[in-house]
């Protein structure tokens, strides 16, 4: 049914439809409204679930780790410094192969302190072993949150649903909220074969020496790789129920014969798509919306890049001392192609800097001037830099 909802409220409702057993969270902007709304649903008796208010994000992550290991469908949400404080536990959750779902309301990280949107927080834990799925609008965030539980429980891997802080979490827009029947028909009750059970004792996350550590980590890598078809299937099956897909591993839009493409993740894709539609037909580019950042869909990306001469990677984070993260990964992923496109790489919109409609044209022009292998921050303002950095 269609509703006009704030993103956070929509996610709270979508998570509630998945019938979590335990939700633990600590408030942090811009994530707070999500768990606030979930706690209200619990308080109003609309959701039967153990809501655990904790004293830090470290504890929030620890609670959902324990709850999941005990066989309960578990959910948390955080942002920015919260994700960083959780980091140790996030690696544990993935290493123990616990199917926790969390929402990352993407926000910049300190210092300097900044509460606004970019992707530096989820990027920082990209190697934690979590699946990371990015959403371009609130409908995708709803649908991806529901799919996340199925993906997590089938793959025994935790899933982080990344949605842009403020830009999605605080935006009211029209969304189709699935019915309880639709979600119930899609998501069976959680049964976890590795759950901690005194009748069948089992240890999780214990000390592993050099004899087996490599194999344990390799298995985690393989599990992520094997999650690729699960992510696609989860989206395809959801589309059969509600009539819309959330973007599989990635999607490609724009003219079929275009030889330039722009690749991005998250809500900026929406703005790029509209800007692209406003360009004259022969100037239009392909827009590649990367939904699955982890696992990284190398093969699907190579397919999407067939026939391209130029691929412009636009990202909302970077690695100081290197340059683009997504751009570097895309370059590596495409190196195996027969005729890989030239990859240009730009970061934009750090710490909530607005990404206006003019960005696409600016990007296409800036790409022409970038040397192969280059990287730049597209919207850096030289006059705001100290003279030595200009």
């Amino acid at each position: 049914m269609l509703h006009a909802l704030e993103g956070s409220q929509a996610i709270a409702q979508a998570v509630a439809l998945c019938r979590p057993g335990v939700v633990a969270a600590y408030p942090i902007t811009p994530q707070t409204h999500i768990v606030e709304n979930i706690s209200k649903l619990v308080a109003d008796g609309k959701l039967k679930c153990e809501f655990v208010s904790v004293e830090s994000e470290f504890s929030a992550a620890s609670v959902v780790l324990g709850a999941s290991a005990a066989g309960s469908r578990s959910y948390t949400a955080s942002s920015s410094q919260g994700i960083l404080l959780m980091a140790e536990v996030l690696f544990d959750i993935a290493g123990m192969r616990l199917p926790v779902v969390m929402t990352c309301a993407n926000r910049a990280i300190s210092a300097p302190i900044n509460i606004w949107n970019d992707h530096q927080d989820s990027m920082t834990v990209r190697d934690s072993g979590w699946i990371q799925l990015h959403c371009a609008d609130n409908q995708e965030a709803i649908d991806t949150s529901i799919q996340a539980f199925r993906i997590a429980e089938r793959t025994e891997l935790p899933v982080m649903v990344c949605m842009d802080g403020f830009v999605l979490t605080h935006t009211l827009e029209v969304v189709d909220m699935p019915s309880a029947e639709q979600v119930d028909s899609y998501l069976p009750p959680f049964t976890f074969k590795n759950k901690l059970d005194p009748k069948h004792p089992l240890s999780l996350g214990t000390l592993v020496g050099p004899e087996y550590y490599t194999e344990a980590r390799y298995s985690l890598h393989r599990a992520l790789e094997k999650a690729l078809p699960e992510i696609e299937a989860a989206d395809a099956d959801w589309a059969k129920i509600c009539g819309r897909a959330a973007g599989g591993l990635l999607t490609v839009e724009g003219p079929e014969n275009a030889t330039t493409a722009v690749l991005a993740m998250g809500s900026v894709v929406s703005t790029l798509t509209e800007s692209n539609e406003m360009l004259p037909g022969n100037k239009r580019v392909k827009i590649i919306k990367l939904r699955s950042f982890r696992p990284f869909p190398i093969e699907a990306l190579q397919m999407a890049c067939q026939g391209l001469k130029e691929l412009i990677v636009l990202e909302r984070a970077f690695s100081p001392g290197l340059g683009g993260i997504l751009g570097t990964e895309v370059r590596a992923a495409l190196a195996g192609m027969q005729k890989p496109p030239q990859v240009r790489n730009f970061t934009v919109g750090l710490g909530g800097r607005d990404i206006p409609m003019s960005t696409l044209s600016k990007l296409i022009n800036a790409a022409k001037a970038q040397a192969p292998g280059g990287f730049a921050i597209l919207d850096v303002e030289p006059e705001r830099l100290p003279p030595e950095d200009r």
């Binding site: 703005t271 509209e274 800007s275 409609m357």
Partner: protein, 192 residues
């Protein structure tokens, strides 16, 4: 698509105004988008919220740079140069002020419509929050949505006495501005 920017101060219900206006569009079967641009989140600090209303799904998610209409919850905000920035040529400005429209127009050198929103809200609702009064005035002037849609959106957010009094406020305000005065403007500022 019509783009609206609402300027206020922390505590004046700026975000609620944006959400309710978008909600009213939804009640009329339109597509809508409303979001705040938070600065420092404290009472009294200038805050901005954006609303987009369209027939088709809205893709762009950037801030509204060239609004068709400005709704200003506090006249003192007009002293901030960026408040009027980007307003479309024939765009309309609605200001919560005790001055007359003529006085404001003269003072700021461009057409503006004044509404004593805080005063009316104080009298009818018992709190000097101008947001609902301004929305009622805006919809009456522009005629982009019926007041019924605003009432429906409001009744999804509030109930009881607060709702009743605000519904009364909506009707009362409607009689204080000239219905359809911005009809032409609304057509003119609409973008694809």
């Amino acid at each position: 698509m019509i783009e609206i920017r609402i300027h206020g101060r922390g505590g004046q219900g700026n975000v609620v105004a944006a959400y309710v206006l978008a909600g009213a569009a939804f009640e009329e079967g339109m597509r809508c988008q409303a979001f705040p641009n938070f600065g420092a989140e404290r009472r009294g600090a200038p805050v901005v919220a954006f609303v987009r209303i369209a027939e088709k799904p809205i893709l762009r998610r950037c801030q509204v740079e060239a609004p068709g209409f400005l709704i200003i919850q506090d006249e003192s905000l007009l002293h901030i140069p960026s408040v009027l920035e980007g307003l479309k040529d024939k765009g309309g400005v609605l200001v919560n002020s005790l001055k007359s429209s003529e006085e404001l127009t003269k003072e700021y050198g461009r057409p503006m419509i004044a509404l004593a929103g805080s005063q009316m809200a104080q009298e009818i609702v018992g709190r000097p929050l101008a947001n609902v009064a301004l929305l009622s005035a805006f919809l009456t002037l522009s005629a982009i949505l019926p007041l019924e849609a605003l009432k429906k959106a409001l009744s999804k957010r509030f109930k009881g006495e607060v709702l009743e009094k605000n519904l009364k406020l909506i009707d009362e305000v409607g009689a204080h501005v000239s219905a359809g005065q911005w009809k032409k403007e609304a057509k003119h500022v609409a973008c694809a």
